[in-house]
Amino acid sequence: MTEKIWEEKGLVVRHNFLELLEHWAIALSGFVLIITGLFQMPLANRYYISSLPGLAWSGDFIISLNVHYAASAIFVAAAFFHVIYHGILGERGMLPQKGDLKTSITVVKSFFGKGEEPPFHKYLPEQRLAYIGMIFIIAMLIISGLVKTYKNIYAPDLSEGIVFLATWVHITFFILFVLAFIGHMAAIILKPNRPMVRAIFTGSVRLDYARHRHPLWVAELEGGRKIPATVEPAVEEISEETVEAETVKTSTEPEMLLQKKADLQEADESEDLYAETQEEDVGGTDKTSD
């Protein structure tokens, strides 16, 4: 789709503007929903939150409910848009695949220095699992929230069982939503994942990062063309190696990846340094592409 390799800039476009908009609509409205949801508990007055400057409204259930409603409208619309739009477009990159659970365990172990990561596609297997988990949590929050809203406006005497169920589903999945949010934040604290963070702000990741961590994705984007695995070797020699890298994953590759990763981590501190490496990379890849 809009994913593409931007060789001159040393970047790979990972998300388009629309996807960023969807993410941030959900994220920001979700944050407001968590806060205003807590205000319904009611804790704003008890914990003197309503005494803080600018937060007097938090103790007013009518205002905080209206803020909750406003955020809900954005949250729900964005969620429905996301599922319908990407569903019709047939984008399945974030849906779990066979073996994701097993691979996820390997990946999580590798974060703690045990073993090595397998090569990734665009998304990590645990990202795909987390995505489907989040979809489920959000779906339950939306369904129960809509029932509660309907009850508030039209049917205060809706069956007690339904109202009770909706309320407790809403509370339970609220807790899961907060936990999922914490997990989501924890994932980006992990060093290997950090180069991905820029994608949710700018839409792109560094090409060198993508080549090393997401070779299957880059291979797909390059449409079966050879992957220039490294910069050093001469063009003629590279071709054979990269074909192997694409298909089999030679035993030397993980070592190379680790080496590169270590380089990346060192360079993580300085953006300028990156610009240089990227320029080098771009030069190298240009050569190989031609």
């Binding site: 009518i62 429905f80 319908i84 809203t149 049917a155």
Partner: protein, 339 residues
């Protein structure tokens, strides 16, 4: 004259409605409830005729209050001692040593008789007003309860589940008359985090919900020696209230207040004058005519929320359609870039 005005609504017709309401399952509610705020027009309503109520002045305690107290005497368990101090706001409401108070609403007293010395054009007139929960048509106290511990039943009664209530008093804050009353040191919050969450249980009139289910009348209605309180099908009670108000050239309270309630006061004196004459203190509510249903301000945003799935899905469909209609060109362009 008095006899004529008295129950058209017999015990039998009341029981019939009650049974009909019980028989109506949850499924029948949805289509019935489509009309905003009129959700309970099929339920029960009570009429309190202030021209009949004399406050049982010669009695030690008004009959309705006495009956209510007797029926509900064992509702509240003995609070724990000491009552845990909530943190950080240290409010504790303990009425357990003042169970006998009957001249205001307390967690141990769900009904009391207000006295208003009203200055009318014809001189001073004393009005006695039995006060309790109005059982509103769209009760904010119930819909806004974070744990669904407060619910409007199909028969119109607004009932707090004392086993589920955390005593946050949100219901009292949103009630225009601040009816629900808190007793700290009892309830489920003690089992969770008593210092940090919850503060007891909220108590109020439940229209003798359990007695209604058994086919009995609410205690206050049954006990009133002057038949100043009546209960019956919503429509019939409303018609009767109109009729009585017309006959006495009087006024009705509770029909439009807070978006409509199922308690109608009929009075020969205007409620504006009564309200002015009333002493207003915690547990002693006012009678402000035309008091607004505050939740009305949330109905608009709520309707937008209910429409948002459709809006989101429609945008998704349009977006996908646009993508496909210009998709080929766009993809080609993308490929060209890579080439």
């Amino acid at each position: 004259m008095k006899k004529e005005l008295l129950p058209k609504i017999s015990r039998r017709s009341f029981l019939k409605t009650s049974a009909g309401i019980t028989a109506a399952s949850g499924l029948t509610v949805l289509p019935m409830a489509k009309k905003a705020h009129g959700a309970t027009s099929g339920g029960l309503a009570t009429l309190i005729d202030l021209s009949l109520c004399d406050g049982c002045v010669d009695w030690e305690m008004p009959a309705c209050v006495s009956s209510c107290k007797t029926i509900n005497k064992d509702v509240i368990p003995e609070p724990v001692n000491p009552i845990p101090q909530p943190w950080p706001r240290k409010t504790i409401e303990d009425w357990s040593k003042k169970k006998d108070v009957f001249n205001r609403l307390t967690p141990y007293n769900y009904l009391y008789v207000q006295k208003a010395d009203v200055e009318t054009e014809d001189g001073k007139r004393t009005v006695f007003i039995p006060r309790r929960c109005m059982h509103c048509d769209n009760p904010a106290c119930a819909t806004i309860c974070p744990f669904s511990a407060n619910h409007k039943m199909k028969n119109g009664a607004v009932v707090i589940d004392y086993d589920l209530c955390f005593g946050g008093a949100k219901c009292r804050t949103v009630c225009p008359w601040a009816i629900p009353q808190r007793q700290s040191g009892v309830g489920v919050y003690l089992q969770v985090l008593p210092d940090f969450m919850g503060n007891g249980v909220m108590y109020k009139c439940d229209l003798c919900h359990e007695r209604l289910a058994e086919g009995k009348l609410p205690g206050c209605v049954e006990a009133c020696p002057r038949k100043a309180l009546l209960i019956g099908p919503h429509r019939e009670i409303f018609a009767l209230a109109e009729e009585r108000a017309k006959q006495m050239n009087g006024y009705i309270y509770g029909k439009t207040e807070n978006g409509g309630t199922s308690t109608l006061y009929v009075s020969p004196v205007s409620f504006d004058l009564i309200n002015k004459a009333l002493i207003k203190k915690p547990g002693e509510p006012d009678m402000k005519p035309d008091v607004q249903r505050r939740m009305v301000k949330t109905d608009g945003p709520g309707r937008i929320v209910l429409a948002s799935p459709i809006l989101g899905a429609a945008a998704g469909l349009i977006g996908a359609f646009k993508w496909f209609s210009r998709g080929k060109g766009g993809t080609k362009g993308g490929e060209k870039d890579n080439d």
